[in-house]
Symmetry: C2
Subunit: 106 residues, 2 copies
């Protein structure tokens, strides 16, 4: 498995973000996605492979078709990491503000 499993890298590609947006609106098959997107069906397939490896989408075989949908857990993981960044940045901000205030008080 040399495949890319990083959700951030997966979301970095505009086409994949568009796919996620479409799937967030409702599950759909590969052909349905390819019909809307300006890329070929195999390209969509490859993007879905990356998104699946990143844990952002799920597959549900249904007859001859494969229905894809977003995996809330994947988005949640991204949110968690992003909140981590944000929280740390804010904590650092208030600390700097406090220090600055104290310096001005002195």
């Amino acid at each position: 498995m040399i495949a890319e499993a990083d959700p951030w890298v997966a979301m970095g590609d505009p086409s994949r973000r568009r796919i996620v947006r479409l799937l967030a609106a409702g599950p759909s098959s590969v052909a349905e996605l390819a019909d809307v997107l300006p890329i070929s069906r195999p390209a969509v397939s490859q993007h879905l492979k990356v998104l699946k490896a990143a844990g952002l989408v799920d597959v549900r075989p249904q007859g001859t078709r494969r229905i894809y949908q977003v995996d809330p857990a994947g988005l949640q993981a991204l949110r968690a990491e992003l909140d981590g960044f944000w929280g740390q940045a804010m904590a650092n901000f208030v600390e700097l503000t406090n220090r600055h205030t104290k310096e001005n008080e002195a």
Copy 2:
């Protein structure tokens, strides 16, 4: 301005995510970042350029050095878009669940 201004693309690169992580812990100069990271100083400079274009970091010239720090607004924007995906996905989920329940009731 051919520069890349997409925050998602900016966060897609591991080195840049690491820089954001470092800056979230506290502001620092380019040399300080390059000292920690396994890449050259110009490489860090280029990454910072992308992050700045994406609105994820801010610069504050201080003497001969340039102090970089995260821009909370940029992270907030990412959070907002991510929450949009999540909310839509969840709404779609409960709708599907309701429909499924109704079908089973009928």
